[in-house]
Symmetry: C2
Subunit: 169 residues, 2 copies
């Protein structure tokens, strides 16, 4: 984003540069729209996962979706993680509201699933899960090795199963 000029955007969109300003007053507005789009996509994903029967299945479903895009993660990094990291640097040391639109909903959603499993520390488990994914995505991108993400996601599946089993008895 910081390295993406409006000329790049215009070229990718196949329109002249100045045209962008008819739709977005400033570059910040465009960024905000992109963030909102990402956020909306996440929301739709959560709604789709909601159709799965059990919280355990829903968590596995999330992990599956996050694993599917492993190739692009190796090349470009996790969209949520990289976007968040960049937005976090824009507003000095104060939290940026845009950034929190991305990761917080996913944490909240995961927390809800763990809570439905009668997990005592649902918030903790949710943060651990998302952090493990984002960290794995960071290493995957840095090493340009999709296998890193695959193996880490496999371990996360196992962890979810273990926790789910220990809470079920």
């Amino acid at each position: 984003m910081e390295r993406t000029s409006l000329a790049d955007v215009a070229e990718a969109a196949g329109v002249p540069v100045g045209n962008i300003y008819y739709y977005f007053k400033t570059k910040n507005d465009l960024v905000a729209a992109a963030v909102a789009a990402q956020s909306s996509e996440s929301t739709q994903l959560f709604q789709r996962l909601e159709r799965l029967g059990t919280p355990t299945e829903r968590l596995h479903g999330l992990l599956d979706v996050l694993t599917e895009v492993g190739g692009s993660v190796a090349e470009y990094g996790c969209p949520l993680g990289t976007l968040s990291a960049e937005l976090d640097k824009r507003n000095g040391t104060t939290a940026s509201p845009e950034s929190q639109q991305l990761l917080v909903p996913m944490i909240d959603w995961a927390e809800q699933q763990f809570a439905n499993l009668a997990c005592a520390d649902a918030r903790q488990q949710a943060i651990t899960l998302i952090a493990a994914y984002e960290g794995a995505a960071l290493l995957t991108h840095s090493l340009r090795d999709p296998d890193v993400l695959r193996s880490q996601m496999h371990q996360l599946h196992l962890r979810v199963d273990e926790l789910s089993a220990s809470l079920a008895h």
Copy 2:
């Protein structure tokens, strides 16, 4: 870095802008020097940790050091993680050698500790550990909440102990 102009660097260093070019031919050279400095600092840390008696103690030592800087992580993010992420975006989709100077040595060092514990999947464990830390640092920064890092690091201490105990019997 991408948002840090040479004017910023000059101001922080208390020297005029043009002066920087006497020491560094280009901004890239300056960045490379900064990366090398970070890399060297990590190496020194590993050497200090090497003095601890057991691999388990050394791993705990690493986690302690990473936890100590929690406040700055909440404000600025993990230096290694943010630097790596930014360097990763500079050279298109091919792996940047500079970026790998930062995280790979830490993974390698952790792998060595796990291997000394007679851990079968030492590399996997090392990647899991560093990924968990980097992910926790990312969330900590995004949420501007040092407690996130603290609690996650606490869990990592427990995991190291569990693994160490299961391998010791």
